[in-house]
Point group: C2
């Protein structure tokens, strides 16, 4: 008799960070149940990236849940009337989607409870990040506490863990870790406003953090950019 394999729900956006978090979960021996969201984000090509990554990493299951966050508005990522900024901004940027990680983790928690999963992986990062409040370690700790009161886990005594393997890494460290685990970064998409062919703008906050990460890691950037002449 073999031991039943431990299970994890892994949030996957299709970007560089979540792809790396998934590769780490797989490398730690988890059977991975991957969850992506179609939440009215500008970048539908992001979901195609998520599908490619999940397939490559041979996950147990990949679900894409439709979520109507665009009904609430309030973010440049879900409201096409708000422009995605290019260059540095102050404070919490307009690309912040209200309560996004809370909503994503909550839905992951519901699935984790049904699956009897031990962990939820999320690729948040508090070093080379955009300043979103729901990427901070204190938020993650508070979510984990809440999650263990919200569910059967809190009653049965089998706690669920929120795993954030990237939280203290620089973008360059994330990239190096992913490359060691065989992540194909050409398949990932980080841009907030990629075009229909999945080409990145090269100018938004997410593109700039990503490009700097490849430069700092001393690795060739495999990102397909929209040529400057076409912009």
């Amino acid at each position: 008799m073999t031991q039943p394999q431990k299970r994890a729900v892994v949030l996957l956006s299709g970007g560089l960070d979540s792809a790396t978090a998934l590769a780490i979960a797989c490398s730690q021996g988890y059977r991975c149940y991957v969850l992506s969201f179609d939440y009215g984000q500008r970048s539908q090509t992001e979901l195609n990236a998520a599908r490619r990554i999940a397939e490559t990493l041979q996950v147990a299951e990949h679900r894409v849940l439709r979520l109507h966050l665009e009904d609430f508005g309030g973010s440049a990522l879900t409201d096409s009337s708000i422009e995605v900024p290019e260059g540095e901004t102050e404070g919490i940027p307009v690309t912040y989607v209200p309560a996004r990680n809370t909503v994503f983790l909550s839905l992951a928690l519901g699935w984790a409870e049904v699956l009897h999963a031990e962990a939820i992986f999320i690729g948040v990062n508090a070093v080379d990040y955009s300043g979103y409040p729901d990427c901070r370690p204190e938020f993650i700790a508070a979510f984990e506490t809440m999650a263990n009161l919200a569910t059967r886990n809190g009653v049965s005594g089998e706690p669920i863990r929120i795993e954030t393997p990237l939280i203290d890494m620089t973008k360059a460290q994330i990239i190096r870790t992913g490359l060691e685990l065989g992540v194909d970064y050409a398949a990932t998409l980080s841009c907030y406003q990629a075009d229909a062919q999945g080409r990145a703008c090269g100018h938004c906050d997410s593109c700039r953090l990503r490009a700097k990460g490849f430069a700092d890691a001393g690795v060739e950037d495999p990102t397909l950019y929209v040529p400057e002449g076409e912009r």
Copy 2:
């Protein structure tokens, strides 16, 4: 110049408790933004009840968000292959929907952040209730802590409150409070397996708690039941 009215997001299922919580929020002077979910629950007639209640109480806005919780399964309320039990059960019942209140509150939080609302009202109750872990006061407190770290509120210093006006009331007290505030309980629906005409079964846990509440309050039960002969 009049003071801008304070705002609250109110979760409304269409049942007796959430209708009373909404009436309380209105009575406290909040401009109410009401959120209901179409989450693959058995009882679609519940949503019709929610629409009637929101209309009667003249709320600022009522949104019904589609949420595909049935994809996860694991509950008699979203999976038609699991039977709704009738009579007493032990432990957490199969009608418990994994992480439901966490998911609902998270989405309410996203809307509250966009609206700059001060409070989220939820009609949870820890006295005459079904033993769901996500109805306990310690869960609500942990959610509020998490919510204030998750959002702009935690950064700007305008905290958001999770209001649970029913949490310590008996069902009879809830009913008396609602009647004082003019709630029309004939318009509410609590049954886990109401028929297409909105008639209650009279036997599920939710029906039994509700009927006992009316009896204890000494108030005539306005619920429309499926006649025993038709069951």
